[in-house]
Symmetry: C2
Subunit: 530 residues, 2 copies
């Protein structure tokens, strides 16, 4: 495998820029070869020129071929074998087991979207048949189908070097929608990105696709991403990362002459509410699962449980003691890169320095990139009054908020801005007693969990991984699960088209058996001329 430091522009490699950077091994503090060259303005433009040229030919291949492309990407990623596991481990400090698991998830995502493409529900076809004798005006024949929005600019995330990166959920869903993709590799794992990007390119070649269907650019500064979002052929943006980064891209996308949608998933504090009956039933066990969830992946998940809210009680005291005890035994872990580690330390200090909050436990851990676990504590009044306490600490830290009573717990819930998730540790009786809390949280988050923890994200049909701002820039869309494809589709209606000018899925005979809304009712049937 040729681990080059160049841009992948369709089927060619390109190296025009002079500014360069290297990957960094957070486990031992060394730089990793080769040099990666930042994409030039011309290279960004070239990637989108190719993508634009690929829109029509890629849009015209059959759904079967599109599904095959996605599956071939999965095969090619698997074929990278130990090269991939080794590089990704080196560049991220994540253990090989985690990378292997994440590779499986990445492949499963691609295969799930292949299923979605084959099934065709995502076309959301609706057919209103003509009523030529209707008065006062005849009703025309109108048929609507979802079509790809156009080239998508995708930004790889640092914390999932495979599943949210070059061939991650954003790329899989955009390609499934029929959109060519231009990915900006995350500079924290550029070699991993080259390996995966090359796998996608190989899959495109093997399945005979136009080269512009995929390009990948390297860059460590802001300008490559900015050029991507500003490119006139870009029709949507997908990003997973920080609030600052996501909001900047959103603003850029909205300020274009032609504004385009920008789907930025920007993290979350994922509040966990401990309800009285459940807490008194099981304080120790919940505390133990909580600390495990905080420490998972060294806390580098957007679903990390950053805030836990309970009501002052003996059971809460027991929960706090048990959590402190377990967290004090945490051994820490290597974080993804220097920047993340220093941001973690900085944010932790900023939050700890706020009035009325204290660090009540901290784990062990040494080394330039090792994140040490921390537990903080405050009260409901302090929390609700200080918005800074709602800011995400990206790493293994969490705040316990002690409320005076259930009214203060409700006020605390009300004070939350948008989040990806909220969790209720609750018995059935707790849930019945706390409907107002559930109603508040439904408006604040994309996913509500009972008696689990928010980490561990199921990639499925019913997953909503998104939420009101600042969790994401558009609360109406998910970036995980099959619904992610909806971000990249736009409906087009065809009025009074003759049968032979319609695509197969819109013709009367529903030869492909897709679900269609036929005069308002879902059906897989064929339409018989009457």
């Amino acid at each position: 495998m040729n681990l080059h430091g160049k841009q992948i522009l369709g089927y060619k490699l390109s190296k025009q820029g002079t500014s360069h950077f290297q990957a960094y091994n957070p486990a031992n503090g060394t730089s990793i070869d080769p040099l990666f060259y930042e994409a030039s303005k011309d290279e960004v433009a070239k990637a989108f020129d190719l993508a634009e040229a690929a829109v029509l030919p890629y849009g015209e291949i059959s759904r079967t071929d599109r599904a095959k492309f996605l599956e071939t990407i999965a095969d090619e990623i698997l074929a990278l074998d130990d090269d991939l596991i080794h590089r990704a481990t080196q560049e991220t400090g994540l253990p090989a087991g985690r990378i292997t698991g994440e590779r499986g998830r990445t492949m499963n995502q691609l295969k799930l979207f292949a299923d979605v493409v084959r099934k065709g529900d995502f076309l959301e076809i609706s057919i209103d048949t003509a009523k030529p004798n209707r008065t006062p005006f005849p009703k025309p024949d109108i048929r609507m189908i979802n079509m790809p929005i156009g080239p998508v600019a995708i930004f790889g995330a640092s914390n999932f070097p495979l599943a949210f990166s070059v061939a991650g959920g954003d790329t899989a869903s955009a390609l499934a929608a029929g959109c060519p993709v231009v990915v900006k590799a995350h500079p924290a794992h550029p070699s991993t990105s080259v390996l995966v990007g090359s796998a996608i390119r190989t899959a495109a070649e093997k399945t005979g696709l136009p080269e512009g269907v995929f390009s990948m650019l390297q860059g460590i500064g802001l300008h490559v991403g900015q050029e991507m979002v500003k490119n006139r052929f870009a029709k949507a943006v997908a990003f997973t990362g920080s609030l600052k980064g996501g909001k900047a891209l959103f603003d850029l996308a909205a300020a274009r002459e032609e504004p385009i949608p920008c789907f930025a998933e920007m993290g979350s504090t994922n509040p966990v509410f401990l309800l009285p009956e459940r807490l008194s039933d099981d304080a120790a066990s919940i505390a133990s699962q909580y600390v495990d969830s905080v420490n998972l992946g060294v806390g580098q998940f957007c679903t990390n449980p950053g805030i836990v809210i309970g009501i002052k009680s003996k059971a809460l005291d027991e929960f706090v003691e048990k959590a402190k005890e377990k967290l004090n035994q945490s051994t820490g872990g290597t974080m993804l890169h220097k920047g993340i580690k220093s941001n973690y330390d900085g944010k932790l200090k900023e939050i700890s320095d706020q009035k009325g909050i204290s660090v009540i436990a901290s784990g062990a851990g040494q080394g330039a990139c090792v994140g040490r676990a921390h537990l903080l504590k405050t009260d409901g009044g302090t929390f609700s009054a200080n918005e800074i306490l709602q800011e995400e600490i990206f790493g293994p830290a969490s705040i316990i908020v002690e409320c005076k009573d259930s009214a203060e717990m409700l006020r605390t819930a009300n004070s939350f801005k948008g989040n990806l998730t909220a969790t209720l540790q609750a018995t059935s009786a707790d849930l019945q007693n706390t409907k107002p809390l559930i109603r508040i949280l439904e408006r604040k988050v994309g996913r509500l969990i009972v008696n689990g923890f928010p980490t561990g994200l199921e990639v499925c049909y019913s997953m909503m991984h998104g939420g009101p701002f600042p969790a994401t820039t558009d609360s109406r869309f998910t970036s995980v699960g099959t619904g992610a494809i909806k971000r990249f589709l736009r409906p087009v209606s065809f009025q009074n088209f003759p049968q032979d000018a319609l695509v197969e899925e819109l013709k009367n005979e529903n030869n492909m058996g897709v679900w269609r809304i036929w005069d308002g009712e879902l059906s897989t049937g064929s339409i018989i001329d009457s």
Copy 2:
């Protein structure tokens, strides 16, 4: 009927402001009583405070009751009887027949959304059942359902005083989604708006809804609308009107601390392509229908056919001659108000003054507010080189673009920005011969029409009334037809919730028989625990 000039704030009336305006009768140039007071900042805030307070109670009523509310609004509008027809006619210059027809459409829209609400497809429910024995991790139970996004700020349009105004498609779809609504009445028909707004209020009272479900504000300057979009409780904006107005609201919505989606439908030139075989078959008849479509509603439709593109030929000459002849006989009509008439004259002059374009026909018409029909002509090269020629002339004017050959017609098609519609006058053979043109247009518009004209918008399940910028600010959504409800919904997932804590539609027994995606497959069945 008390034709007051106050704000409707829930169940109360309010008059805090001092600045006021009057409606204007464009047919005779007189002002119409009463005085309308512009909403103050406080009144805008109060409307949204009420709307926010209504979110949870309105969200909790049954779908049956929500449907009943929509139907009651339709009944109450009908009950306004001649008062409504009379006032709307006075304020808009539109004939009583048109207003009566539009009232029917408005009522039908409300009833269609009542059907949508009862049916429940819009909930887009998806249920992934648990797999407790899956390895390496058990699969949780996850159930997703669409929920209302929150209060919606809606701007009434001038050109449909009923169907796109206070109780128009935006209001009907937002209320159907479960969202409280704050409408800014269009200052061109404030009395009509008071009548319709009062009908909605009465319907809310009769069906026992929280008052904040609907408020209506008056304003003639920009500040009322700006305050609405900036209000922190507003979660979406819907607008139909000019590019300038829509883009300003979009920018304001995107610049908020919490950005919110803004759906602005901003008009279009709706190109009509005359393909050779069809044109030579039927030039005279197409020309006649074309001029009728240009003149319909004095050209004040966003679907007005503003540009016609043909290939130099005898048939095109015949088409042009026939169109000129018919248009020269046009008698003109009263436009909606002084501003629209003066904008029409100004834009017409600006376009006519461009190099390489000439006025080839004009109709009769006299009076301060009478719009005279105009036909202009240019060639393909001139058209493609000058973006100003693509700007909408809101009124009864249209440009014929003569192309040298089919290649120039394709280049002309390629030069178009986003539009609501494109029309192909084409035989089956034409359509087969011109697939590249269709492929280009699919990317540029929301609706493609064969052998009709774009005016006459069917309100149905398959209607896409939207398109790429600058036709709208989000090409993925329609403002007409049942799909309009999707703008105001956001999915929420419920993970591992016990049955008795789920809403009825998410429970295993599908007592309401709604369509749900069950482990990836559409079904109306009930889920049996296994």
